[in-house]
């Protein structure tokens, strides 16, 4: 493309200048293309998070990308911004190293680079000095010419004479003209050139307010408090070359130098630089082996242990996989994973789990998930617990002969092993070779309201109420939210409404990926900056998963799975109580009792099948084996539900007649009755119908999930339909088939099978060891779907007793007492953290607390903690603590008189409560327990409220006798609200007898949501009974009030 511009903006800032940049990289690039810029520079603040994305977008737009960074540099004269631009690959590597050094040595949140680091890392860099926030500008403003000259000469000495430019900016800010004049004079004295920039923070003027708001959000203060940090005007947009030329009419050389710098940088392209530079980490092999032969030997030895006799089909599959491994040079890749699993096993043994004599593949410390489960090699070297041969898992989605991208292997671990493992991996390879991938959490509706509300100084409680009132976190909801629209003409709210649309989707900052680790034999700091994470010992790269993909770097996902932690703990509790540790890998996987539980929807707390939606489908699906369970696990996913896939699958499974949209679908969809349930099936359809290769089909599947993938999807659609045509598929059938693909998430088949195993094991534990199951489930919270009170209700339904915490009997976490009692732990009480809990336990080592005075004198707890324990019922068992309100009074009095501090040596009784003090009502006690514990251990709020309801209000038990179409009233606590990709809102009510599923159609929701957002409600609706499921379609709803002081005073027990 021919360009007419005579100016290039070198210092663009995107939304990756977190809390300041007010345009995305795409917006900057698009605007630059509109303005016919031949090149555009990006110098985000202290990071290169957007570098790869920006380079790709520039390439697509035909604009040359120039990469740089704004760093705060510490010179002897002070701290200030210096802009560094990469002229070459060497310069880019130096940029990465310098940014890493600034974070590692200068500060994680406010990185500062010691200027002395520049000298050894200046190769290939162009330095811009003189911006208003820089030291040089301050020196010139103060008239310190000698220091200014010395500074420039110092940089020139480090970077070379032609590589230092003095930067002129004209934003029509008071002082710009004088500063530019002095910079020009200094440039002459030092014999360096000047260059013009506009340092844009947004691509068009209309984003200036967002820039201000972002600044306030970053500083966590209202705009009025940060006036001195805001730009004084709105001149910081990406100006046209003509506008810039006009502003710098008096110094055309400074404008011309922008082109000269762009020309110098034109030889460097980040995607080209990264291509082939990455290498898998080294994994030593014994003498006489290469990685390939060593991996093969490991697998064969393991196969012999696994299968006893290595059958032909095993050998053939291994041959097939090793052929692919050899073709792609992945032996080292698998050995790295093998090494990681070995490290994880070391962590597991250190934590006291497992035995060192047990072979790795028999008791792997973690479990594979994702499509990698389909690799037999993975099963044999301990990456997965699923035998792919037994379940007929295909390889193509994970690895094919044309695979171009690095395969993706995700591993799940119990939380404690995973925490240790991440540090161990960094130790093993060093922080410059192993780091966590980055992640950019983005602004969503509620976060937008909260952040902008605070920045604009709006009433905090009104802002919080508005955020709570939003039904989803989708930014799209904001612009139509009635609660916000109702305020559109009020000062402040008007701005919030206007800015919210702009802020939607902005990255908030760099966070660490939940577990994705980058490991490389070439230093990662040559490829991407690394910075310390908020968690000590961890390091994070400036790439998110998309950039990691684009860079072709190995990302190992080491994920924490609460269910595995729960399982690990439950197994140990069983061993403690029964003396024998169940081996979950050898339990009966066809236990009809377990499948009956699952088929009844008796699945509260069971991994993957506990949600209300899953309970509804599993009672229709009635799984009978692991593969059925895998289908169930996979069914309730947005990607399956998006095309009504779940309902269609259930109908077909129940016997409805169906057919493929084209016979070519059969190979891919036969096992799921013509419905797309797994990612692999999308790939297979791409191959079978669209004629793609396996790798192409997988790229098509990935395109749907990309944040900016719409254009790519459109291209794939054209190719798919053309390819299908060549295979004799009519256009309308091809369009129908392509229309089933969607951007929403669904599981790979192997992943579903892997999760089905875990789900089955949890269901087995729940059936045969319910006490340990629930103790571990409570202790591993937060886990998943239900809150503690619902879990407690379910435990009670299974015959367990949930006991109050007790200052003399509770440990920090929940414990099993006898055969059927779960004692709540001390740290389950609000305000009692593990430090306070340990304080109490240490005091108890000297003997149980005899009474309240003894507790006050010895516990060493704060008043708030003691009061909370009293409210939670943790002192009920003390001899003189029958009434909690009296106990609270005595705790308060103890603090005033100093009893707690042990100042009274005599065992005097605590202060007597006044006789006029009325005992707390039952309702007050219960609400105190809900407030302190999040549950009421031995009751349910509906038991209390039931007497005030008429007989027409049915219980969940009573509802079971109703017929389809009956109009009923039910009441309960709202324990769950969900709005999936459907036209209804699903709620779950809980009463003292069980759960009641509700469905509210969108039209009703609009006028009932006020009532249905209350925690206790009465609803009227029509019973819907279909295929063994029961729902109440809500027509009316009322909040259910509770009178705190006038409910019965009967003892709760």
């Amino acid at each position: 493309m021919t360009r007419v511009a005579d100016y290039v903006e070198l210092r663009g800032h995107s939304w990756y200048s977190f809390g300041a940049g007010a345009s995305s990289t795409a917006e900057l690039v698009d605007r630059a293309a509109e303005l016919e810029y031949p090149a555009l520079g990006l110098t985000d603040a202290s990071n290169l998070c957007g570098a790869l994305e920006f380079s790709r977008q520039c390439r697509d737009a035909g604009v040359q990308s120039i990469l740089g960074v704004d760093l705060t540099v510490r010179d002897p004269e002070g701290d200030g911004i210096v802009s560094l631009i990469a002229e070459t690959g060497e310069g880019y590597a130096n940029l990465c190293r310098l940014v890493s050094l600034a974070h590692v040595t200068g500060g994680r949140t406010e990185p500062v680079l010691d200027a002395r680091f520049l000298e050894p890392h200046a190769g290939g860099l162009i330095v811009l000095l003189g911006a208003p926030d820089g030291v040089l500008a301050r020196l010139l403003q103060d008239g310190e010419w000698a220091s200014a000259q010395a500074l420039v000469e110092r940089y020139r000495g480090w970077c070379g004479p032609g590589n230092v430019f003095l930067e002129l900016q004209q934003h029509l800010v008071h002082g710009d003209t004088v500063r530019n004049k002095r910079l020009r004079e200094l440039a002459e004295r030092c014999d360096v050139a000047t260059v013009a920039t506009n340092e844009p923070w947004y691509h068009w003027r209309g984003r200036s307010r967002l820039h201000d708001a972002l600044t306030a959000i970053r500083l966590n203060r209202p705009l009025s408090d940060v006036r001195d940090q805001l730009k004084v005007n709105r001149q910081y947009w990406l100006k046209s070359p003509q506008e810039m030329a006009a502003l710098f009419r008096c110094c055309p050389d400074a404008v011309a130098n922008t082109l000269a710098i762009a020309e110098r940088c034109s030889g460097f392209s980040l995607p080209d630089y990264l291509g082939g530079r990455y290498a898998y980490p080294d994994c030593p092999v014994p003498p006489g082996y290469d990685p390939h032969s060593w991996l093969r030997r490991l697998c064969e030895e393991s196969a012999a242990r696994r299968y006893g006799h290595v059958e032909r089909k095993v050998r053939e599959r291994l041959d097939q996989e090793f052929d692919l491994i050899g073709r792609h040079g992945l032996a080292g890749f698998f050995l790295v994973y093998h090494r990681i699993v070995e490290l994880a096993r070391e962590c597991m043994l250190e934590l006291g789990y497992g035995h060192s004599e047990t072979p790795l593949e028999w008791l792997p410390p973690g479990r594979g998930r994702g499509s990698s489960v389909s690799m037999l090699v993975g099963y044999l070297i301990g990456l997965s617990h699923v035998d792919p041969l037994e379940y007929g898992l295909a390889l193509d989605r994970f690895l094919s002969s044309e695979t171009a991208v690095v395969p993706d292997i995700d591993l799940d671990f119990p939380r404690n092993i995973r925490e240790r493992l991440i540090l161990r991996v960094i130790e093993e390879w060093g922080w410059d070779h192993a780091a966590l991938a980055g992640m950019m959490p983005t602004y969503k509706a509620r976060g937008i309201v909260r952040a902008l509300g605070k920045a604009l100084g709006l009433p905090a409680e009104e802002v919080a109420a508005l955020a709570r009132s939003l039904e989803t976190d989708s930014p799209a909801e904001l612009s139509a939210a009635p609660t916000l629209l109702a305020r559109h003409d009020r000062p402040g709210w008007r701005d919030l409404l206007a800015l919210s649309g702009q802020l939607a989707g902005f990255p908030k900052g760099l966070a660490q990926h939940p577990g994705g680790m980058l490991v490389s034999s070439t230093p990662l700091t040559d490829l991407v900056p690394i910075q310390p994470s908020a968690i000590e010992g961890r390091y994070v790269a400036h790439w998110d998963k998309d950039s990691v993909d684009d860079a072709g770097v190995l990302k190992i996902d080491l994920l924490a799975l609460g269910a595995l932690s729960q399982m690990q703990q439950a197994v140990r509790l069983v061993r403690n109580r029964a003396g024998v540790e169940p081996d979950l890998s050898r339990i009966n996987y066809r236990d009809t009792g377990v499948f009956e539980d699952l088929g009844r929807g008796d699945t509260v707390g069971v991994f993957q099948v506990e949600s209300a939606a899953q309970m509804q489908t599993i009672v229709r699906m009635r799984p009978e084996d692991i593969y059925d369970l895998a289908l169930e696990v996979a069914a309730v996913r947005p990607g399956v539900g998006a095309n009504d896939g779940v309902a269609e699958f259930l109908r077909r499974r129940e016997g409805i007649a169906w057919d493929y949209d084209h016979p070519l679908e059969q190979n891919a969809l036969e096992r799921s009755m013509g419905v797309i349930m797994f990612q692999d099936q999308v790939v297979q359809l791409g191959m079978d119908v669209g004629g793609f290769t396996a790798a192409e089909a997988d790229r098509m599947r990935r395109a749907f999930g990309r944040r900016d993938g719409q254009q790519l999807v459109a291209q794939y659609r054209e190719r798919f339909i053309a390819g299908a045509g060549e295979r004799g598929v009519p256009v309308d059938a091809a369009e129908t088939i392509f229309g089933k693909f969607n951007p929403h998430y669904m599981f790979p088949e192997g992943h579903a099978v892997a999760f089905a195993f875990t789900a089955y094991q949890m269901a087995w534990l729940r059936r045969y060891h319910p006490l340990e199951f629930f103790v571990a489930l409570f202790n591993e919270q937060p886990m998943g779907f239900w809150d503690l009170d619902t879990l407690k209700q379910d435990a009670r339904r299974l015959g367990l007793r949930v006991a109050h915490p007790d200052v003399n009997r509770s440990e920090l976490l929940c414990t099993a007492e006898g055969d059927d009692t779960m004692r709540l732990g001390l740290t389950f009480v609000k305000g009692v953290d593990s430090r306070l809990g340990e304080t109490l336990l240490r005091a108890r080592e000297a003997g149980s607390f005899t009474d309240l005075s003894d507790l006050l004198a010895r516990s060493g707890l704060t008043r708030e903690a003691l009061e909370n324990l009293a409210r939670a019922g943790a002192m009920d068992a003390l001899s003189d603590c029958t009434d909690r309100r009296s106990v609270l009074w005595q705790v308060g009095a103890g603090y005033v008189s100093g009893v707690r501090r042990g100042q009274l040596a005599l065992p005097l009784p605590a202060a007597n409560p006044p006789s006029a003090l009325t005992a707390a009502s039952l309702a007050r006690r219960m609400l105190d327990e809900y407030a302190m514990l999040g549950l009421c251990p031995d009751g349910h709020v509906m038991e209390l409220l039931r007497p005030q309801l008429g007989s027409e209000v049915l219980t969940s038990d009573g509802l079971l006798g109703c017929c389809d179409g009956d109009v009923v009233r039910v009441a309960g606590r709202v324990v769950r609200r969900q709005r999936p990709l459907a036209a209804a809102v699903f709620l779950t009510l809980e009463d003292e007898f069980g759960l009641i599923p509700l469905a509210v159609w969108s039209a009703q929701w609009e006028w009932l949501k006020g009532a249905l957002r209350c925690s206790l409600v009465v609803v009227e609706g029509q019973v819907s009974r279909r295929d063994d499921t029961l729902n109440v379609a809500v027509q009316k709803a009322w909040p259910l009030g509770i009178d705190l002081d006038h409910h019965g005073r009967r003892d709760w027990r």
């Binding site: 201000d212 209202p222 006036r227 100084g457 009095a893």
Partner: protein, 475 residues
């Protein structure tokens, strides 16, 4: 329980929402609109009081918060001096009738009424007299009881303009009142409420020793107050040491002689007051309402306290005639509708120091900037007039003044400021833009020009790009 001092008959004169009532009194045109009184010219002004029409506004909210709830509300910064004048007026009026008066914040006055009912022929008559000390527009309430707290509760339960007396069985009468009326901190109140203790009656039922054990001294005080016992005596608040006089001009006045005459008249009137007999004045403030809207104000702290009307008038007029720190005039910028003079820092004759300086010389020294304390407002502000102020009253420095500018293609060609003639521009030295404060009710969008004039002067002017008006500003 023994108390060292038995409670005395005490009155409480209560004027609720005094800041709002006072503002509405002098700005009756606002009566139909929601009104919020704010803490004034601080970085984050907060609501201090609000009229009933300002629905949703609560004391302590920031102005942004308050306006977001009540968009139509008019916000006015607290005019401390004006409100003090109203409050002090009430205090002074009460002092005329009662032997001891304690002022406890805006609009709350405790009165020692011991022995006074006999003097006025009964409580009813006394109450009428006391209520009459406050103007009707203040709608005062009076409470009478044995101690300050019972009297306050009685006043708070009285009708506006009426009075109420706590009966002999005070504890019984107080029993239904909420514990939140107790003068304890919020945490103590919340703790009581958490035990189901919601009324003063609930407090009274508990033994004093239990409450003392539970809450320490606060518990004893709470118990006493709930019993209707408040042993704290009325602590007399002295009358303020300032006097004020005001005059209204028959027509708007903007000439120096007319204002001089007004100043002379006011000083003479003040010296007729017995309070100034044998005393000297250390501070004086002139202020008046401008025909163009707003107020003009001139404050002066006298190095040498003035002992006569003439001395004060001379000092004030000398100060007015001098230029301010930025070189501007101190005379009113528009015709005045009225003029008031308030004097304070009253000293006895002995407060006067001997000096070698002539009085005129002292007046000139007082004009030099720096005599007053420089206070930071928003030092980093893009607008010079919002950066610094003089004195605790926060009079901004570098206030822009209107200017006449002729421009070509937006650039000034000649300029006229004050009453001077047109001054041609020789060169534009610099230009810059300020475009900010968009989230406030008063966004700023200005284009500045630094001009070299043909007469050798340098001048900074700006154009308000919203209104198109030109101003001159010290930068």
């Amino acid at each position: 329980m023994n108390f060292s001092e038995s409670p005395k008959l005490t009155g409480c004169l209560l004027v609720t929402h005094l800041p709002v009532k006072a503002e509405l009194r002098r700005r009756p045109e606002l009566a139909s609109r929601p009104l919020i009184i704010t803490t004034g010219n601080t970085t984050r002004p907060q609501a201090l009081d609000a009229s009933p029409a300002a629905v949703g506004v609560a004391v302590g909210q920031t102005v942004a918060e308050a306006l977001s709830r009540c968009a139509d509300a008019v916000t006015l910064p607290l005019d401390t001096e004006y409100l003090s004048g109203v409050n002090d007026g009430l205090l002074a009026a009460l002092w005329d009738f009662v032997p001891a008066v304690e002022a406890d914040g805006w609009g709350v006055f405790y009165l020692d009424l011991t022995g006074m009912t006999g003097m006025y022929g009964g409580t009813d008559e006394l109450a009428k007299v006391l209520l009459s000390t406050a103007a009707e527009w203040l709608r005062p309430r009076l409470g009478v009881g044995m101690g300050k707290f019972p009297a306050y509760c009685a006043a708070a339960r009285a009708e506006a303009g009426g009075w109420r007396q706590v009966p002999t069985d005070a504890a019984c009468w107080l029993a239904p009142l909420p514990v939140s009326w107790l003068p304890l901190d919020g945490d103590a109140i919340r703790r009581l409420q958490s035990f189901g203790i919601r009324t003063l009656g609930d407090v009274a039922k508990i033994s004093a020793s239990s409450l003392a054990e539970f809450m320490g001294p606060d518990g004893i005080r709470a118990w006493q107050l709930a019993q209707g016992i408040d042993p704290e005596p009325v602590l007399p608040t002295p009358l303020p040491e300032c006097l004020s006089e005001q005059l209204e001009f028959p027509f708007p006045v903007d000439t120096v002689p007319a204002i001089e005459a007004g100043v002379n008249s006011l000083t003479e009137r003040l010296w007729r007051s017995a309070l100034l007999r044998a005393r000297r004045v250390g501070e004086a403030t002139l202020q008046g309402e401008l025909l163009s809207g707003g107020h003009w104000r001139f404050e002066r702290t006298l190095r040498q306290p003035a002992g006569s009307a003439d001395a004060l008038a001379r000092s004030l007029l000398a100060g007015l005639g001098a230029r301010d720190a930025a070189g501007g005039s101190r005379w009113p910028e528009a015709p005045l509708l009225d003029l008031s003079l308030t004097v304070g820092a009253l000293t006895a004759e002995t407060g006067c120091q001997a000096t070698i300086w002539q009085p005129e010389r002292v007046a000139n020294i007082g004009d030099v900037a720096g005599v007053e304390r420089l206070a930071a407002m928003v030092p980093g502000s893009a607008m010079p007039e919002r950066r610094w102020a003089l004195d605790a009253s926060l009079r901004p420095l570098n206030l822009p003044a209107k200017a006449s500018v002729e421009s070509v293609s937006g650039a000034p060609r000649r300029v006229k400021t004050g009453d001077r003639h047109w001054r041609p521009v020789e060169q534009v030295v610099d230009r810059w833009e300020v475009d900010t404060e968009w989230w406030t009710p008063e966004p700023v969008y200005r284009r500045y020009w630094r001009l070299a004039l043909t007469d050798g002067g340098l001048l900074t002017v700006y154009r308000d790009l919203d209104t198109g008006e030109w101003f001159r500003q010290g930068y």
